[in-house]
Symmetry: C2
Protein backbone atom coordinates (compact mmCIF):
# COMPACT_ATOMS: atom_id res chain seq x y z
CA UNK A 1 0.00 0.00 0.00
CA UNK A 2 2.98 2.28 0.67
CA UNK A 3 4.71 3.10 -2.61
CA UNK A 4 7.81 5.06 -3.50
CA UNK A 5 7.33 8.65 -4.70
CA UNK A 6 9.92 10.00 -7.14
CA UNK A 7 12.12 12.56 -5.43
CA UNK A 8 11.34 15.28 -7.95
CA UNK A 9 7.64 14.92 -7.14
CA UNK A 10 8.05 14.57 -3.38
CA UNK A 11 7.27 18.27 -2.77
CA UNK A 12 3.70 17.51 -3.90
CA UNK A 13 3.13 15.63 -0.66
CA UNK A 14 3.64 18.85 1.29
CA UNK A 15 2.62 21.52 -1.21
CA UNK A 16 -0.96 21.96 0.00
CA UNK A 17 0.14 22.91 3.50
CA UNK A 18 -0.97 19.97 5.66
CA UNK A 19 -0.05 19.57 9.32
CA UNK A 20 2.82 17.14 9.85
CA UNK A 21 4.22 14.76 12.42
CA UNK A 22 7.99 14.93 12.75
CA UNK A 23 9.70 11.73 13.88
CA UNK A 24 13.33 11.28 14.78
CA UNK A 25 15.62 8.75 16.45
CA UNK A 26 19.13 8.81 17.91
CA UNK A 27 21.15 6.74 20.37
CA UNK A 28 18.41 4.16 20.78
CA UNK A 29 15.69 6.70 21.57
CA UNK A 30 12.91 7.96 19.36
CA UNK A 31 10.18 10.58 19.40
CA UNK A 32 7.38 12.14 17.41
CA UNK A 33 5.84 15.61 17.57
CA UNK A 34 3.35 17.70 15.67
CA UNK A 35 4.58 20.53 13.42
CA UNK A 36 2.17 22.74 11.53
CA UNK A 37 5.02 24.87 10.22
CA UNK A 38 6.54 22.84 7.41
CA UNK A 39 6.88 23.63 3.72
CA UNK A 40 8.80 22.68 0.58
CA UNK A 41 11.92 24.76 -0.04
CA UNK A 42 13.29 23.55 -3.36
CA UNK A 43 12.51 21.11 -6.15
CA UNK A 44 15.87 19.88 -7.31
CA UNK A 45 17.17 18.49 -5.09
CA UNK A 46 13.96 18.42 -3.08
CA UNK A 47 14.38 20.39 0.11
CA UNK A 48 12.06 21.24 2.98
CA UNK A 49 11.90 23.70 5.86
CA UNK A 50 10.36 22.98 9.28
CA UNK A 51 10.16 24.91 12.53
CA UNK A 52 11.08 22.88 15.63
CA UNK A 53 11.53 24.51 19.01
CA UNK A 54 15.00 24.16 20.51
CA UNK A 55 13.56 22.99 23.83
CA UNK A 56 11.90 19.95 22.25
CA UNK A 57 13.20 16.39 22.54
CA UNK A 58 12.60 15.89 18.82
CA UNK A 59 14.97 18.79 18.07
CA UNK A 60 17.65 17.11 20.20
CA UNK A 61 17.21 13.82 18.29
CA UNK A 62 17.27 15.58 14.91
CA UNK A 63 20.45 17.46 15.71
CA UNK A 64 22.09 14.31 17.17
CA UNK A 65 21.25 12.10 14.18
CA UNK A 66 21.06 14.67 11.38
CA UNK A 67 17.88 12.97 10.16
CA UNK A 68 14.10 13.34 10.47
CA UNK A 69 10.88 12.18 8.86
CA UNK A 70 8.01 14.44 7.85
CA UNK A 71 4.91 12.24 8.21
CA UNK A 72 1.58 13.41 6.79
CA UNK A 73 -1.20 12.25 9.11
CA UNK A 74 -4.75 11.51 7.99
CA UNK A 75 -8.04 12.36 9.69
CA UNK A 76 -8.05 8.87 11.14
CA UNK A 77 -5.31 9.73 13.64
CA UNK A 78 -6.30 13.33 14.36
CA UNK A 79 -6.54 12.67 18.11
CA UNK A 80 -2.96 11.48 18.25
CA UNK A 81 -1.84 14.46 16.10
CA UNK A 82 -3.22 16.80 18.71
CA UNK A 83 -1.87 14.82 21.66
CA UNK A 84 1.74 14.43 20.49
CA UNK A 85 1.86 18.18 19.98
CA UNK A 86 1.02 18.78 23.63
CA UNK A 87 3.37 16.35 25.37
CA UNK A 88 7.12 15.96 25.63
CA UNK A 89 8.70 12.65 24.70
CA UNK A 90 11.50 13.09 27.23
CA UNK A 91 9.46 11.52 30.00
CA UNK A 92 7.11 9.17 28.17
CA UNK A 93 6.95 7.07 25.01
CA UNK A 94 4.35 8.85 22.90
CA UNK A 95 4.18 5.93 20.48
CA UNK A 96 3.02 3.52 23.17
CA UNK A 97 0.81 6.02 24.92
CA UNK A 98 -1.17 6.79 21.78
CA UNK A 99 -0.96 3.44 20.05
CA UNK A 100 1.08 4.89 17.21
CA UNK A 101 2.59 2.09 15.19
CA UNK A 102 5.70 2.56 13.12
CA UNK A 103 7.19 1.27 9.91
CA UNK A 104 10.88 1.15 9.12
CA UNK A 105 12.04 3.98 6.86
CA UNK A 106 13.84 3.20 3.61
CA UNK A 107 16.91 5.34 4.09
CA UNK A 108 17.15 6.49 7.69
CA UNK A 109 16.83 5.21 11.25
CA UNK A 110 13.91 7.43 12.28
CA UNK A 111 10.59 5.56 12.10
CA UNK A 112 7.68 6.24 9.77
CA UNK A 113 4.35 6.67 11.54
CA UNK A 114 1.59 4.26 10.47
CA UNK A 115 -1.81 5.85 9.87
CA UNK A 116 -0.09 8.58 7.89
CA UNK A 117 -0.53 8.83 4.12
CA UNK A 118 2.81 10.31 3.09
CA UNK A 119 6.39 10.23 4.35
CA UNK A 120 9.46 12.33 3.54
CA UNK A 121 12.75 10.97 4.86
CA UNK A 122 15.14 13.88 5.29
CA UNK A 123 18.73 14.71 6.11
CA UNK A 124 19.34 17.92 8.02
CA UNK A 125 21.20 20.63 6.13
CA UNK A 126 23.54 22.14 8.72
CA UNK A 127 22.75 25.84 9.05
CA UNK A 128 23.64 26.61 12.67
CA UNK A 129 22.69 30.29 12.56
CA UNK A 130 19.24 29.63 11.10
CA UNK A 131 18.63 26.76 13.51
CA UNK A 132 19.73 28.69 16.57
CA UNK A 133 18.17 32.06 15.76
CA UNK A 134 14.84 30.99 14.24
CA UNK A 135 14.35 27.31 15.22
CA UNK A 136 14.18 26.83 11.46
CA UNK A 137 15.56 23.52 10.19
CA UNK A 138 16.27 22.85 6.53
CA UNK A 139 16.43 19.38 5.10
CA UNK A 140 17.05 17.52 1.88
CA UNK A 141 14.65 14.71 1.02
CA UNK A 142 16.44 11.34 0.67
CA UNK A 143 13.36 9.18 0.08
CA UNK A 144 9.63 9.72 -0.18
CA UNK A 145 6.65 7.40 -0.11
CA UNK A 146 2.88 7.60 0.08
CA UNK A 147 -0.27 5.57 0.52
CA UNK A 148 -1.26 4.46 -2.98
CA UNK A 149 -4.97 4.63 -2.14
CA UNK A 150 -4.81 8.44 -2.00
CA UNK A 151 -1.58 9.52 -3.74
CA UNK A 152 -1.23 8.27 -7.31
CA UNK A 153 0.72 9.54 -10.30
CA UNK A 154 2.23 12.23 -8.09
CA UNK A 155 -1.18 13.66 -7.14
CA UNK A 156 -3.35 13.46 -4.08
CA UNK A 157 -6.73 11.97 -4.97
CA UNK A 158 -8.68 11.43 -1.78
CA UNK A 159 -11.85 10.41 -3.62
CA UNK A 160 -14.07 8.28 -1.40
CA UNK A 161 -11.37 7.88 1.27
CA UNK A 162 -12.69 10.59 3.56
CA UNK A 163 -10.82 9.19 6.56
CA UNK A 164 -7.50 9.33 4.70
CA UNK A 165 -7.65 13.04 3.94
CA UNK A 166 -4.87 15.20 5.31
CA UNK A 167 -5.33 17.84 8.01
CA UNK A 168 -4.58 21.55 8.30
CA UNK A 169 -3.99 22.91 11.76
CA UNK A 170 -5.81 25.93 13.12
CA UNK A 171 -5.26 26.15 16.90
CA UNK A 172 -6.31 24.35 20.07
CA UNK A 173 -8.00 21.15 18.91
CA UNK A 174 -9.20 22.70 15.65
CA UNK A 175 -8.25 21.44 12.24
CA UNK A 176 -9.53 21.83 8.73
CA UNK A 177 -9.76 18.72 6.62
CA UNK A 178 -8.35 19.00 3.09
CA UNK A 179 -11.39 19.92 0.98
CA UNK A 180 -12.49 19.26 -2.56
CA UNK A 181 -10.15 19.57 -5.52
CA UNK A 182 -10.78 22.27 -8.10
CA UNK A 183 -9.19 22.66 -11.51
CA UNK A 184 -8.53 26.20 -12.69
CA UNK A 185 -7.57 27.44 -16.13
CA UNK A 186 -5.58 30.61 -16.60
CA UNK A 187 -7.81 33.61 -17.10
CA UNK A 188 -7.63 34.93 -20.65
CA UNK A 189 -7.25 38.68 -20.36
CA UNK B 1 -15.34 44.50 6.16
CA UNK B 2 -11.54 44.40 6.57
CA UNK B 3 -10.67 44.43 10.25
CA UNK B 4 -7.41 44.52 12.14
CA UNK B 5 -6.06 41.21 13.47
CA UNK B 6 -3.97 41.36 16.66
CA UNK B 7 -0.32 40.69 15.88
CA UNK B 8 -0.07 37.80 18.32
CA UNK B 9 -2.90 36.04 16.47
CA UNK B 10 -1.74 36.91 12.95
CA UNK B 11 -0.05 33.50 12.48
CA UNK B 12 -3.55 31.99 12.51
CA UNK B 13 -4.16 33.47 9.07
CA UNK B 14 -1.39 31.31 7.64
CA UNK B 15 -1.35 28.35 9.99
CA UNK B 16 -3.51 26.04 7.87
CA UNK B 17 -1.14 26.21 4.90
CA UNK B 18 -3.07 28.16 2.26
CA UNK B 19 -1.57 29.34 -1.02
CA UNK B 20 -0.61 33.02 -0.93
CA UNK B 21 -0.18 35.99 -3.21
CA UNK B 22 2.92 38.04 -2.44
CA UNK B 23 2.72 41.72 -3.34
CA UNK B 24 5.53 44.25 -3.22
CA UNK B 25 6.32 47.77 -4.41
CA UNK B 26 9.45 49.86 -4.81
CA UNK B 27 10.50 52.92 -6.79
CA UNK B 28 7.04 53.50 -8.19
CA UNK B 29 6.63 49.95 -9.46
CA UNK B 30 4.57 47.13 -8.00
CA UNK B 31 3.99 43.43 -8.57
CA UNK B 32 2.16 40.39 -7.33
CA UNK B 33 3.01 36.70 -7.61
CA UNK B 34 1.75 33.39 -6.29
CA UNK B 35 3.68 31.59 -3.55
CA UNK B 36 2.57 28.22 -2.22
CA UNK B 37 5.61 28.02 0.02
CA UNK B 38 4.85 30.27 2.95
CA UNK B 39 4.53 29.51 6.66
CA UNK B 40 4.59 31.08 10.11
CA UNK B 41 8.01 31.11 11.75
CA UNK B 42 7.44 32.58 15.19
CA UNK B 43 4.67 33.88 17.43
CA UNK B 44 6.23 36.69 19.39
CA UNK B 45 7.05 38.76 17.50
CA UNK B 46 5.12 37.18 14.68
CA UNK B 47 7.45 36.11 11.90
CA UNK B 48 6.96 34.34 8.60
CA UNK B 49 9.04 32.50 6.01
CA UNK B 50 8.39 32.53 2.25
CA UNK B 51 10.25 31.12 -0.75
CA UNK B 52 10.65 33.59 -3.62
CA UNK B 53 12.88 32.82 -6.60
CA UNK B 54 15.76 35.22 -7.09
CA UNK B 55 14.92 35.67 -10.77
CA UNK B 56 11.46 37.04 -9.99
CA UNK B 57 10.50 40.71 -10.23
CA UNK B 58 8.73 40.44 -6.87
CA UNK B 59 11.98 39.38 -5.24
CA UNK B 60 13.68 42.46 -6.69
CA UNK B 61 10.94 44.71 -5.28
CA UNK B 62 11.04 43.02 -1.86
CA UNK B 63 14.80 43.38 -1.57
CA UNK B 64 14.66 47.01 -2.79
CA UNK B 65 11.92 48.05 -0.36
CA UNK B 66 12.47 45.61 2.51
CA UNK B 67 8.70 45.06 2.61
CA UNK B 68 6.09 42.62 1.29
CA UNK B 69 2.49 41.58 1.83
CA UNK B 70 1.29 37.99 2.21
CA UNK B 71 -2.25 38.06 0.79
CA UNK B 72 -4.55 35.07 1.31
CA UNK B 73 -6.71 34.64 -1.78
CA UNK B 74 -10.18 33.11 -1.78
CA UNK B 75 -11.76 30.67 -4.24
CA UNK B 76 -13.36 33.66 -5.96
CA UNK B 77 -10.05 34.76 -7.50
CA UNK B 78 -8.55 31.31 -8.12
CA UNK B 79 -8.07 32.06 -11.85
CA UNK B 80 -5.95 35.09 -11.06
CA UNK B 81 -3.98 33.12 -8.44
CA UNK B 82 -2.98 30.65 -11.11
CA UNK B 83 -2.26 33.31 -13.73
CA UNK B 84 -0.01 35.57 -11.64
CA UNK B 85 2.08 32.53 -10.78
CA UNK B 86 2.79 31.89 -14.46
CA UNK B 87 3.70 35.38 -15.69
CA UNK B 88 6.44 37.87 -14.91
CA UNK B 89 5.51 41.39 -13.89
CA UNK B 90 8.62 42.85 -15.47
CA UNK B 91 6.91 43.23 -18.84
CA UNK B 92 3.26 43.62 -17.95
CA UNK B 93 1.06 44.95 -15.18
CA UNK B 94 -0.53 41.83 -13.72
CA UNK B 95 -3.00 43.89 -11.71
CA UNK B 96 -4.51 45.45 -14.84
CA UNK B 97 -4.31 42.30 -16.89
CA UNK B 98 -6.27 40.25 -14.38
CA UNK B 99 -8.50 42.94 -12.99
CA UNK B 100 -6.91 42.67 -9.56
CA UNK B 101 -7.90 45.64 -7.46
CA UNK B 102 -5.81 46.85 -4.58
CA UNK B 103 -6.30 48.47 -1.19
CA UNK B 104 -3.75 50.60 0.60
CA UNK B 105 -1.87 48.75 3.32
CA UNK B 106 -1.84 50.13 6.87
CA UNK B 107 1.91 50.16 7.46
CA UNK B 108 3.75 49.70 4.17
CA UNK B 109 3.76 50.87 0.58
CA UNK B 110 3.07 47.49 -1.02
CA UNK B 111 -0.62 47.12 -1.94
CA UNK B 112 -3.12 44.68 -0.46
CA UNK B 113 -4.95 42.57 -3.04
CA UNK B 114 -8.74 42.87 -3.01
CA UNK B 115 -10.62 39.57 -3.26
CA UNK B 116 -8.30 38.16 -0.64
CA UNK B 117 -9.55 37.35 2.86
CA UNK B 118 -6.40 37.96 4.91
CA UNK B 119 -3.33 40.18 4.72
CA UNK B 120 0.00 40.16 6.54
CA UNK B 121 2.13 43.28 6.07
CA UNK B 122 5.75 42.32 6.59
CA UNK B 123 9.22 43.76 6.88
CA UNK B 124 12.07 41.67 5.50
CA UNK B 125 14.53 40.35 8.08
CA UNK B 126 17.91 40.70 6.39
CA UNK B 127 19.51 37.26 6.19
CA UNK B 128 21.65 37.47 3.03
CA UNK B 129 23.01 33.92 3.20
CA UNK B 130 19.56 32.34 3.58
CA UNK B 131 18.10 34.55 0.84
CA UNK B 132 20.91 33.88 -1.60
CA UNK B 133 21.41 30.17 -0.96
CA UNK B 134 17.82 29.01 -0.52
CA UNK B 135 15.60 31.81 -1.92
CA UNK B 136 14.15 31.76 1.58
CA UNK B 137 12.96 35.13 2.87
CA UNK B 138 12.11 35.75 6.51
CA UNK B 139 9.84 38.56 7.62
CA UNK B 140 8.36 40.14 10.69
CA UNK B 141 4.66 40.97 10.60
CA UNK B 142 4.01 44.70 11.14
CA UNK B 143 0.24 44.64 10.65
CA UNK B 144 -2.42 42.05 9.90
CA UNK B 145 -6.02 42.25 8.81
CA UNK B 146 -8.76 39.95 7.57
CA UNK B 147 -12.23 39.83 6.09
CA UNK B 148 -14.60 39.86 9.05
CA UNK B 149 -17.11 37.68 7.22
CA UNK B 150 -14.80 34.66 7.49
CA UNK B 151 -12.17 35.48 10.15
CA UNK B 152 -13.60 36.38 13.54
CA UNK B 153 -12.21 36.19 17.08
CA UNK B 154 -8.89 35.07 15.62
CA UNK B 155 -10.44 32.03 13.89
CA UNK B 156 -11.35 31.22 10.33
CA UNK B 157 -15.08 30.42 10.10
CA UNK B 158 -16.00 30.05 6.47
CA UNK B 159 -19.55 28.87 7.24
CA UNK B 160 -21.84 29.56 4.31
CA UNK B 161 -19.24 31.68 2.47
CA UNK B 162 -18.08 28.92 0.15
CA UNK B 163 -16.59 31.41 -2.31
CA UNK B 164 -14.46 33.02 0.41
CA UNK B 165 -12.68 29.84 1.43
CA UNK B 166 -8.92 29.79 1.09
CA UNK B 167 -7.00 27.61 -1.38
CA UNK B 168 -4.23 25.05 -1.11
CA UNK B 169 -2.03 24.60 -4.16
CA UNK B 170 -1.32 21.21 -5.66
CA UNK B 171 0.29 21.68 -9.11
CA UNK B 172 -0.68 22.82 -12.60
CA UNK B 173 -4.12 24.37 -12.26
CA UNK B 174 -5.07 22.14 -9.34
CA UNK B 175 -6.01 23.40 -5.91
CA UNK B 176 -7.76 22.04 -2.89
CA UNK B 177 -10.30 24.23 -1.21
CA UNK B 178 -10.05 24.49 2.58
CA UNK B 179 -12.45 21.82 3.81
CA UNK B 180 -14.68 21.41 6.83
CA UNK B 181 -13.52 22.23 10.34
CA UNK B 182 -13.18 19.44 12.88
CA UNK B 183 -12.68 19.72 16.64
CA UNK B 184 -10.48 17.10 18.25
CA UNK B 185 -10.00 16.32 21.93
CA UNK B 186 -6.80 14.84 23.24
CA UNK B 187 -6.93 11.07 23.37
CA UNK B 188 -7.04 9.77 26.94
CA UNK B 189 -4.50 6.97 27.10
Amino acid sequence: MRHVVALDKAYRLLNHGPVTLISAAANGRRNVMTAAWAMPLDLSPTKVAIVIDKSSFTRELIEASGRFVINLPSVKIAEAVLAVGLESGRELDKFERHGLETLPADRIEAPLIAGCVGWLECTLIAEPHTQQTYDLLLGEVLAASADSRVFRDAHWEFGEHADLRTLHYVAGGQFFVTGEAIEVRPHQA
